[in-house]
């Protein structure tokens, strides 16, 4: 339990939603998330956490399974149900609330974007049980590493209410990982799946281009 509380606090600072619920006596179930002490260890194949029921075939999982994954450079071993989304695992179990829900899980808004093995993907349409061995980056992790895209978004006022911002930031970071010098067209193309109801769209290309310039300066300094 102590370890679980630490996992939430390292990422978010202060009281995590999970630890709040637990301390308030509201969390009925045993927490299914545990951080893993040794990083960099190759995970064993995904295993059922409970025996498979009659509907399943010999190797399938119709109950919870254990997945081991890296989230923002922290290692986690989590018990997940087959029908859980990655978004659900990140928010409700690990306590990272940056992947938002806007379109209701249609894949139409980009608010739940995270970077999965280097690709910007929709965590609402990704099954948690398929993320065994995966490396996930969320907006929290991008902010914790002081990535220049965060400051650029602030400098260029590339948000108003901020609800869609974690999705934009993840998408922009994934673009900058593969393109050091994006044009405005590249940025518009890459951010084409992220909606912003405050309509801050015109602010995003200069912000991302400025972040790219800052990254290039960082590289030339080091």
């Amino acid at each position: 339990m102590t370890e679980e509380k630490k996992a939430g606090e390292v990422e978010r600072g202060g009281i995590s939603r999970r630890s709040f619920l637990r301390d308030a006596g509201l969390a009925a179930a045993v927490p299914a998330v545990a951080p893993i002490a040794r990083a960099g260890e190759a995970p064993a194949p995904r295993t059922p956490a409970a025996p498979a029921g009659p509907a399943a075939s010999e190797d399938s999982c119709d109950g919870p399974t254990m997945v081991q994954l890296t989230v923002n450079s922290g290692q986690y071993r989590c018990e997940v149900q087959p029908h859980w989304s990655l978004r659900q695992l990140l928010r409700d179990e690990i306590g990272l609330t940056s992947p938002k829900d806007w379109c209701g899980g249609l894949g139409a808004c980009g608010s739940c974007t995270v970077i999965l093995n280097g690709r910007p993907v929709l965590s609402c349409l990704t099954l948690a049980c398929e993320c065994h061995g995966a490396a996930v980056e969320t907006a929290e992790g991008i902010a914790n590493t002081k990535h220049p895209v965060i400051q650029a978004y602030i400098d260029y006022n590339a948000f108003q209410c901020g609800y869609c911002t974690p999705g934009f930031v993840c998408t922009a970071k994934a673009l900058l990982d593969r393109n050091q010098n994006p044009t405005e067209a590249d940025v518009r193309d890459a951010l084409g799946g992220n909606l912003c109801r405050c309509a801050t769209y015109q602010q995003h290309p200069p912000a991302v281009i400025a972040a790219a310039a800052e990254l290039r300066r960082d590289r030339s300094r080091s």
Binding site: T65, H83, R87, G105, L106, L125, L127, E130, T171, G192
Partner: protein, 320 residues
């Protein structure tokens, strides 16, 4: 957010294992999952799969390679990888452009070419949550688009009483480029790959799985193009799209989102055969493409006829 009803999940190691599981019961295949999981979340179909069979754990189905001058793409290749491939862009331009115009960057990073050609249609009566319209495509007796709001529906009539259109962007490119679809059982010409099934869109039999796309070397001097009409540049499904390949006086023209299957516009191909394509000829080819098109009663989808005509013209000019 609506959560999924429970299902079992299995990672498979081979196509044979996946096919075996498909034959045994109420199972669905997952690759990128962007079509399957959205549909399941809103329970659009009367049946909910008990088992999800994960194809992504099968090794060796994610590749783009040139073989004997032709192109071979593994079924699990992400659309974004196809869109960014210099190989695909160099000689199979229409496919690179089609992949690039599909959905959103995120969905292209998740979705595969195999899934894109097998996706279910986007008819809003078919897609409405909780199977509220038990239409002909779900084993019912009625096509609700027939008397309902059919502004995005077929301009070339119904197929087996269904007015839905095929929403794939890559499908017309594959037809125009003369591709074939390799499954675990056979090789099907792209042109013959799609059909109206309940609820599917392809001729795949139970237990049949797409493994690769095979595209022949384009003829010498060939140029191809893909154009898409949608309200937004990103995210949207096509209202109409069109792919064209022109080589040595011959053209292959294919429209999509105009009928239940991708629509090969052979009348346009006849118009341009053996002639140099200019504005007037391309215009005549566009007119030929929609000569047999028919707006549905009430004319709600009549606008699509003009769009189809113009896309054929522009795609031909872009490939000339």
């Amino acid at each position: 957010m609506k959560t999924w009803k429970r299902f079992a999940h299995i990672d498979v190691g081979s196509v044979e294992q996946a096919a075996d599981l498909l034959r045994r019961g109420n199972a669905a295949l997952i690759a990128g999952g962007t079509d399957l999981l959205g549909g399941m979340r809103f329970e659009i179909l009367p049946d909910y799969p008990e088992l999800i069979v994960n194809l992504k754990t099968i090794p060796g189905l994610d590749y783009i390679r040139e073989e004997g001058g032709g192109l071979r793409i593994g079924a699990l290749t992400r659309l974004e990888d196809i869109a960014r491939s210099a190989t695909v862009r160099s000689r199979w331009t229409a496919l690179a452009d089609a992949a690039h115009r599909t959905a959103t960057p995120h969905i292209r990073e998740m979705g595969t070419i195999g899934g894109n050609i097998c996706q279910l249609n986007r008819c809003w009566y078919f897609r409405i949550p909780d199977n509220r319209f038990h239409c002909v495509r779900k084993g019912g007796k009625t096509c609700y688009a027939m008397a309902g709001d059919n502004r995005y529906h077929s301009i070339f009539g119904a197929l087996k009483s269904c007015l839905a259109v095929n929403p794939s962007d890559t499908a017309p490119a594959l037809v125009a480029l003369g591709a074939s679809i390799r499954t675990n059982r056979r090789l099907v010409e792209a042109e013959k790959f799609w059909d109206m099934r309940v609820p599917g869109s392809t001729v795949l039999e139970p237990g049949e799985i797409v493994t690769a796309i095979e595209i022949p070397a384009p003829p010498a001097g060939a140029k191809s193009a893909f154009l898409k009409f949608a309200i937004r540049k990103s995210i949207d499904f096509p209202i109409v799209n069109c792919a064209v390949m022109v080589a040595g006086g011959e053209a292959r023209v294919c429209l999509n989102a105009v009928h239940n299957r991708p629509w090969r516009a052979t009348a346009s191909e006849d118009v341009v055969r053996g002639k140099a394509i200019d504005e007037a000829l391309a215009d005549a080819a566009g007119a030929a493409a929609v000569a047999k098109a028919l707006a549905l009663p009430g004319d709600r989808n009549k606008w699509k006829i003009q769009i189809a005509r113009t896309l054929v013209k522009r795609a031909l000019l872009a490939s000339a």
